[in-house]
Symmetry: C2
Subunit: 312 residues, 2 copies
């Protein structure tokens, strides 16, 4: 028996600041239609897929800031995506900036949702690993103010959907093995994750030429070490003067890349993913119940930072 | 300032069952001398480097079994390694089967030690992640009875040595991101690990052609995700009819392979490793104290096996 999910990794090229929400949604709809025409069951869009990557600027005016957030999902403009999904019978993962008013207090999250083939929301994920910094650092060529713009989410969940166990993550989450493992421990079979990754990392420019290598390395390792599919989708190209990596990939539970984008623009990479390919990893080398040793891992949850032994 | 450790990854070709301990030690001494002649400070030998990989057989006779274990370290035969280390001023990591009698009870471990340039033992590690199985499974082309032959060790430690923070692991440990992370949380700057990895995995032969890819993937990811050097050293080649992978590599904190063996025999790969290269990872992308979210990781220590959501 096979459990096939036909997946489209829907890379986006740059979205400039003056691009309207309506224009962006037209691009997403093109992806949805093209993916549906190729028999796909689900489309994975990038992180913060509705606007430019605004954490590159330090904004103080709440009104200016709020233009980048969605306070409803679906909202007046994004409703079109849900309608198309339902009509086409195709699900999607979408990253966006979420403004949520809870008990009269505004909360802001870097969020993704998973929408089913019926156009209904299946689950929501709020980004756990917010990278960058919380204060304006004018010395940088551009900012990476995710710790200023967002609160972190609580943890990683999975949902039964598309015939298997689906998980979500966002961008920097993919560099942390804990991300994959927390979902692996919930039997995840496909992790969808969108990202916006500048080529240049101002605090460590010595890594810039390795940014694509690191992108692939962490997603391939996360897939293999948990016996899960990983669908990593970029917003790529030169956005407001900032060059972002592409590298959109669909990765098998073996760790092998089975489909990838080769441009930095709007592009679909498509794969026919058999969820049953997870089994041979989850039941042998990565049979967690047989081989894991949680009693040896206590530092992972008991401490946040590194504690090196005292120098002698 | 740089903190240079010159490292030799001392791959071994096969050791057959009838090869004497004395013959093996001569091969290790050749490696020690060649590494010292090239200015190395430390030599990393494989796992179970003194004998053939005996967990491929199911042995019941304790006397027969005990021939593969060391009950003293240094012992009458291994003393030569310690003497050479002291004379040459070169340290080493060595994997071996340890028989330890504690309160009159025999305990067996898959062990490694780190020996300093003065020929003294700095630290001992007992393998945490024992792969394979505990019962004889005659259907296999060969056994992998590590769960029969060894008790697991408690966890991963680090030691200040060779001017930095050194850690040890063994073979299957390298596939588990927890291994690297537990040492990363202790500020590890170089992880030494030996392995014996058959090309063929009887329960999952469909992965056999990926064995080298997986070997590299997990070590490169572990290095990058913790900003540490990784020195992975194989016992390679055809041993008692069982083909084992090579792939001995020295991996930088960037995840890049900087030195590697290209044969399946006795071979040295050498690198001049700057421990200060760890800093740019540990202080930026992988600044654990700034970016980790232990409160989101509780499943990692609270559960051993995967718990998938109930099917609906």
């Amino acid at each position: 028996m096979t459990r096939i999910v036909n997946v489209a990794a829907a890379q986006l090229g740059p979205i400039q600041r003056n691009t309207s929400r309506a224009e962006v949604i037209e691009r997403l709809l093109v992806h949805l239609h093209n993916a549906a025409a190729m028999g796909c069951h689900v489309v994975v869009f990038p992180e913060l897929a509705l606007t430019t990557f605004f954490p590159r600027w330090y904004l103080e005016d709440p009104a200016e800031m709020n233009m980048f957030y969605e306070s409803q999902m679906p909202g007046p403009e994004t409703q079109k995506l849900f309608d198309a999904a339902k009509k086409l019978g195709i699900g999607f993962y979408l990253g966006y900036a979420e403004l949520s008013v809870e008990n009269g207090v505004a909360h802001r999250y870097n969020t993704s949702i998973l929408v089913g083939r019926d156009g209904e929301i299946i689950g929501k994920y709020r980004k756990v690993h917010l990278p960058g910094h919380a204060q304006n650092e004018p010395w940088r060529a551009f900012q990476h103010l995710e710790k200023y713009y967002f609160e972190p989410g609580p943890s990683f969940n999975v949902w039964r959907a598309f015939g298997g166990v689906m998980g979500m993550a966002l961008c920097n989450d993919r560099r942390w093995p804990e991300t994959y493992r927390v979902m692996g421990l919930q039997g995840v079979e496909m992790i969808m994750l969108g990202y916006n990754t500048p080529v240049h990392n101002p605090p460590a420019p010595e890594h810039d030429d390795l940014s694509m290598f690191h992108n692939q390395l962490v997603m391939q390792a996360g897939a293999y070490q948990n016996g899960t599919w990983v669908v990593g989708v970029a917003k790529a190209g030169k956005e407001e003067g900032c060059e972002m990596i592409g590298g959109t990939s669909i990765i098998a539970p073996s760790g092998e890349v089975v489909a990838a984008c080769s441009t930095k623009g709007d592009e679909l990479a498509i794969a026919r993913c058999d969820l049953d390919l997870c089994n041979s990893y989850k039941s042998t080398t990565f049979n967690f119940d047989r081989h894991r040793r949680p009693e040896a891992y206590s530092r992972i949850t008991e401490q946040r930072g590194a504690i090196a032994p005292t120098a002698v």
